[in-house]
Amino acid sequence: MIAAALDSVVSIATVASAADPASPTVPDADPAPLLVPDEYIFDALPEFWFALVLGTLAAYVALDGFDFGVGMWYATREDEEEREQFLAAFGPVWDANEVWLVAFGTTLLGAFPAAYAALLSDHYLLALGAVVALIFRGIAPELREQREDERWRRACDRLFVAGSTLSPLLLGTLVGSWVFGTGTLSLPAILTGVGLIALSLTTGAGYLAIKTEGDLRAAMTRNGQFATVGYLAGVVVLLTVLFALDPRGITSDLQSVPMLAIVVGSVVLGIGGIALARMERHREWFASTLGLAVLLGLFVAVLLYPEVYPATDLTVSEAIVSPIALNLMTILGLPVLVLVGGYFVYLYSVFGGTVESEGYGG
């Protein structure tokens, strides 16, 4: 099989080895001096992609999370002008943020097809429910703009808020069920969903505090502090439940050093964020809330590893695709990812600062 693979890979092997001249070229049984097609360009490449998959998930939770937060805080504002400000803050960025979810799904499919298949088919209804919630979240503001009359706008508002609330709840539950291997209708999974709502409220308030001014900003700063406390309380409750139920022997994982660092880090960031909010350093505060989301991604990664789908004991090394495919994705894909980072820097620099109440002139 290796020999057959070697034969057919000659055409690309030259390309691949040119791209990576430093790779070890010691073939097992074959003297051909080409890049060995059944070796990863470096040994930890599967782990690297595992990190990348969860990195895209963390990016999604951080970025679209604050969109959800905007959608939920939207429900608390009655004033039409304030609502328009929220929508103007949300308008130019949400679509790009949501693409991180597609990036997560396709990266998981590309690197760990078996895990992707198991995750989504085991959570069939949940995944489709989340998708439907996302659909409503996305189109409601678009439709709202199209007509002036009151009833139409109220209906679109309701859709928007419902979509923004259900999306993090369902997605969080999905992730919880995945990580703890407890199934959809279990306390840890649902608590994860609720926790994600609290986190989205936190990041959303931070984002809105940057985008607005005056009373609205003060209100959001206050709300954000409550939400942070709520999120930290949620984390504590979730940890307590996990210690009590101990699904798949998770307590030993939870007592590890990196896990402890993550939990302590979250508490420090949360309290630090509240302090920053009180000092009215909105940008730094918002950055700290995004840090909370990143820590949540790390939490998921540490709990999962070395498995990628605990419910069926599927490990990273079992589920990873073959070296050729992964090497190719690495060599071609990483530069693209750097580019994507560039797009986001550009996007947020174009739409930096506060929104005027009339929006971005769009």
Binding site: P37, T106, L109, L125, L134, I139
Partner: protein
């Protein structure tokens, strides 16, 4: 089924993005560098359509990226190594580009320089075309899989990539890509032409919409005949690489010299479900099927009788006829329009404007039926020769669940389509008021809904 339905709707919006992108780039460019006011109107109008279409494309596209897992886990697992990479590239290269710069295009006119603004419109277009690129890389592989071998992994037989060049530089790909992109442009050109014709029909003096109609007609003049020539060559390629699909397209049951059925009309109802030469009235050119496939009138073409399992011939046969027939209609419309434009009398004839209005949705109809030909023509395989459709679906999925969610998605997507058309209708109404209001009566703004609705009901063929 659910997948087939969601993809049908998604492909409409995806094609809208792909086809509309060049128009947006053109109008934006002309506006920014020519400074002509009429292009501002055109850009604003079509950008709104593009934006709502893109949002629809995103929200209908996200289910797709999950449905491989929710409904086709076996497919995802067996061919994940081959399809996952290109799909991941689609997300990273194409969707991000499109989504980020659409944000700039929609909301950033006052915030970025002219040059950046034009560049944004180009990048949105590039993103749309790249997403088509990667998805068709996947689809071309599903039609003519290469560069893989089947290996055991975790107790399952899965496809392992062995030769990326063979797998991803698939010979089918350039055919599909050119055909699909061109089809998208044709479909959108017809929409642009139809909408322009509608406004011109109401208001002959609108310079902006005359420009739009002219641009659309020119594009149709280039793309529609090209599609016919290219499609013919594409058919030959299909005959070589997927002979059973070609046989189904032509309802060619027995191996031998193949006749080409130019037109086919069923003689009796059963012919609709079972299209055979002896129960159809056809205008057929003897041997031409063979000629098209191989360049020789007597060359035998493989018939369906050589295959134990065949695609549902009737759907493929009629879809193909429908698509080709529409294609020739489009060429006719393009030539008609070209002639009138050449005589500078594009707006003189009510009949031409009405014809264009009626034809506006047909481009998308042709595109969809073409898609059905290629996808249903591959059945019973989901990956030709590798994985059968019935084996690709979820094993844990009960039929009750599948039926319920299918029904849910049908209703939801009908609503989405309805919402989209409704928004377009509102946009048209507003624009109509502007077009007529300029010359006729400025106070028409206050009467927008009534005036617009009456007009839309009377004219639009939606």
């Amino acid at each position: 089924m659910q997948f087939g339905w969601t993809i049908s709707v998604h492909i409409l919006f995806a094609a809208l993005s792909i086809g509309l992108a060049p128009f947006i780039v053109y109008f934006t460019y002309r506006e920014v560098y020519g400074g002509a006011e009429r292009y501002t109107h055109l850009r604003e109008f079509w950008l709104k359509v593009f934006a709502i279409g893109f949002v629809m494309g995103t929200v209908t596209g996200i289910p797709m990226s999950f449905q491989f897992g929710t409904n086709w886990p076996r497919f995802a697992e067996v061919s994940g190594e081959l399809i996952g990479g290109p799909l991941a590239f689609e997300a990273k290269m194409a969707f991000f580009l499109e989504a980020v710069f659409l944000g700039v295009l929609l909301f950033g006119k006052e915030r970025v320089s002219d040059r950046q603004y034009v560049l944004s419109s180009v990048l949105v277009g590039v993103g749309a075309w790249l997403s088509g690129f990667w998805i068709l890389v996947v689809n071309a592989w599903m039609q003519t899989p290469r560069g893989y071998e089947m290996v055991q992994r975790n107790g399952m037989e899965v496809a392992q990539l062995t030769d990326p060049a063979a797998a991803f530089l698939n010979p089918r790909f350039p055919w599909m890509y050119v055909h699909m992109m061109n089809a998208s442009v044709i479909a959108v050109a017809l929409i642009v032409a139809g909408v322009s014709a509608f406004f011109l029909w109401r208001e002959r003096e609108s310079e902006a919409w005359l420009s739009a109609l002219r641009v659309a007609v020119v594009i149709l003049l280039i793309t529609a005949p090209f599609q016919a020539v290219h499609g013919d060559a594409y058919g030959r390629h299909v005959e070589e690489t997927q002979p059973q699909k070609f046989a189904a397209m032509e309802a060619h049951y027995e191996t031998g010299s193949a006749d080409l059925h130019l037109f086919a009309i069923p003689k009796e109802p059963s012919a609709i479900t079972d299209p055979r030469a002896d129960n159809l009235w056809t205008i057929s050119l003897p041997g031409l099927g063979s000629y098209l496939a191989s360049g020789d009138f007597d060359e035998p073409v493989q018939g369906l009788d050589e295959y134990e399992e065949t695609p549902p011939v009737a759907i493929v046969f009629w879809s193909f006829r429908f698509m080709v027939g529409l294609g020739f209609l489009f060429i006719g419309l393009a030539l008609w329009g070209g002639l009138m434009a050449w005589r500078r009398s594009l707006t003189d004839s009510d009949r031409y404007l009405q014809a264009m209005m009626l034809a506006s949705p047909l481009g998308f109809a042709a595109l969809l039926t073409g898609w059905y030909v290629t996808e249903i023509g591959r059945q019973p395989w989901v990956v030709q020769g590798v994985l059968r459709t019935e084996n690709a679906v979820s094993t844990g999925l009960t039929s009750a669940q599948a039926t319920t969610t299918l029904a849910g998605f049908v209703i939801l997507y009908v609503l989405l389509l309805g919402a989209f058309l409704y928004v377009v209708k509102l946009l048209v109404e507003t624009e109509l008021a502007r077009v007529e209001g300029q010359e006729v009566d400025p106070s028409v703004w206050s009467r927008v809904p009534i005036l617009g609705r009456a007009a839309t009901d009377g004219g639009e063929a939606e």
